[in-house]
């Protein structure tokens, strides 16, 4: 999972800054990677992981976040190390009325032994 996050972080950073842990006072827009669950079936077997890619934007309107979402989706579809299945994609305006959040919920199958 760690390797996946590092690789994805590297690729998504070409779109906008990407973090697993967001530093204080980070300017918008940015992406966060949020691991959710890793299921290990067997000691030697593949693992199934679920995680989210979240795009945070404070642009006045949706054009920025939709454009970024499209670029992120392209990165997801072209990712070669693992197949990343998009389970859900959503866009919401947070309660502060200024921040938009685009969430991709993803599922993948990780080969090799656990890190």
């Amino acid at each position: 999972m760690r390797e996946l996050l590092i690789n994805l972080s590297s690729l998504l950073s070409a779109v906008i800054p990407t973090y697993v842990h967001v530093p204080l006072k980070t300017p918008y827009p940015y992406i966060t990677l949020e691991p959710d669950l890793v299921l290990l079936g067997l000691p030697w077997g593949p693992r199934v992981a679920t995680f989210s890619i979240k795009i945070w934007s404070r642009y006045a309107g949706t054009i920025e976040i939709l454009k970024l979402a499209k670029e992120v989706e392209t990165v997801i579809q072209n990712y070669r190390n693992n197949s990343l299945k998009i389970r859900e994609s959503s866009l919401e305006l947070l309660k502060d009325g200024q921040t938009r959040l685009h969430t991709f919920k993803l599922k993948t199958r990780l080969l090799g032994r656990p890190e």
């Binding site: 000691p43 030697w44 990712y79 070669r80 197949s83 599922k107 199958r109």
Partner: protein, 171 residues
């Protein structure tokens, strides 16, 4: 990009699994309904079967984003199927080799405590086992030559999903 361990190969044409077509597959393996059960005059149950009729039926189904390359695939065609359904056999303590029932891949030898042990493939489906193995199990995914019995494709256009089902019988 590794979608699945499943292989569906038409001999000479290649694998039918296209990208985004076989994530989260399900496979069943069952025996063909060939054996006949009869009771003797004493009431003992006997199975009238021959070794040559010990074959598998399989159904593989999936719901993903794209269809596999089934164009040109028809009933009666033969596929080399790398199964995702593993089969497992017990291995006694001290055993130095075991023979798999079928060709296979992704072999794993493990003891009763689920510790993994090395096993080396040798000829004719035999696997060599390290001395000192305390007993446990050998598991692997079989490679079967199977005939297409039927298949179905199903698209949910606005749900952006494609489902498929493939019914197979071992030749």
């Amino acid at each position: 990009m590794m979608n699945t361990d499943l292989k569906l190969e038409v001999m000479g044409k290649g694998d039918l699994i296209s990208p985004f077509s076989a994530r989260e597959c399900h496979q069943t393996l069952t025996t063909i309904p060939q054996a006949v059960f009869r009771r003797t005059v004493n009431g003992d149950l006997k199975c009238i079967n021959s070794h040559g009729h010990q074959k598998f039926l399989s159904t593989i189904r999936c719901k993903d984003k794209a269809p596999p390359a089934f164009d040109g695939l028809w009933k009666g065609m033969t596929l080399k199927v790398g199964c995702i359904q593993p089969v497992t056999q017990p291995v006694n303590a001290g055993c130095l080799a075991v023979q798999m029932d079928r060709e296979g891949f992704d072999h794993h030898l493990f003891d009763y405590g689920s510790g993994v042990w090395p096993a080396t493939p040798s000829e004719n489906r035999w696997m060599s086992i390290s001395p000192g193995f305390p007993g446990g199990f050998m598991t692997y995914k079989p490679i079967l030559f199977m005939m297409v019995k039927n298949y179905a494709l199903e698209t949910d256009e606005w749900g952006l999903t494609v489902g498929w089902t493939l019914d197979l019988e071992e030749i």
